[in-house]
Amino acid sequence: MPGPVFRRGERVALHTLEREDLDLVARLRNDPELRWGLCPATPESDVTIERWFEDRVAETDASDEGAQFVVVPRGDPDVAAGYASLFDVQRPAGHGEIAVTIAPEHQDHGHVTDAVRELVAYGIEELRLNKIRGRALATDGRWRAALEDVGFRLGETRREARRVDGEHVDVVSYSLLADDWFDREDTVRGLPGRPPGATAAERGLDDPDSGAVDGGER
């Protein structure tokens, strides 16, 4: 049973990552088919995963803004389908990187794309990041398509940057800028139905002599 919902997307929700979810994380990070993406090419033991949980998931120090989530399909709220991360947050430059790993039996393009969308919204709208970064193996068509569907643009190629299954493979980097995110038609700035800006009267700034300001006007 996953932890509570932190962000709700259209098809998936991002939940807190609890200790009970570490078996899934360990499985995905060691999976022979999945582990090529971003993880080191070394086995990850329960000790490594526990350290990661203590340092990166359960930490309460706000100076490290990374966040780890379990991805749960909204139609199947008892299933932890994978996990999603925002990490390497740089300030004051204001950017951070994302990654999403979904278990093979739950892979569905819509789930990955929706998780990416929620991570981007979280980073840009909640943490005020200016740019979200993503990296992909040049050969990883599925992950690249998810990034592109959300609006990431292709950046530089790092030639033969990783060793994957007997071959050297290029790594491509992507990024999405906050301006482009807010320019999308379905992005709303501010709280739904609650545009920012107290009235002058609410702020106590109105000039009683002007007579121009009436409480409630915006």
Partner: protein, 181 residues
Amino acid sequence: MPGPVFRATDDRTVTLRPRQAEDHEFVRDVTNRPDVRRLLRSVSPKNQQAVADGYEEHAEGDDGVNFCICAPEDPVGHVGMWRIDHVNATAWLGAWIDPDHHGEGYAPRGTALAVDYAFEELDLHRLNTAVFEPNRPSQRVMEKLGFTREGVQREAMFIEGDWYDTFQYGLLRREWDGYDG
């Protein structure tokens, strides 16, 4: 089970109990909710371990107190005071209620119990609180309790991609004559 009763309303329907380990799961489940954390300005996911660690690190200090608001034994919210300063006799106060129990009067009644405690037992002179501009329900609660809106911090909060004001409220002991609701 929540902790023992620390203060209760006269009719015993609302109680303050010490916030304790059994409450971590309740706190985790409510404070991660998008509708709650937006207005608490909590922008990081807090799993069970983080809630427990955060409580041990920060909440149990000498300058803070934390209560579970219960009705009368089921947890419905939380109220805390921090930065308790006995020289100037001030503290900061903040509360939240589980949205499943909104509109049932627990916010003003639970907060009033904490205000009673602050003035009658801690011998404070003044309480401070800050409410974000979109959080109208909390503003209504504070005003109902007699807090005065003393100032505004313009565009102090970045919420969902835009800037919002923060209102500052204060309540003096001589202005407090209890909450009758």
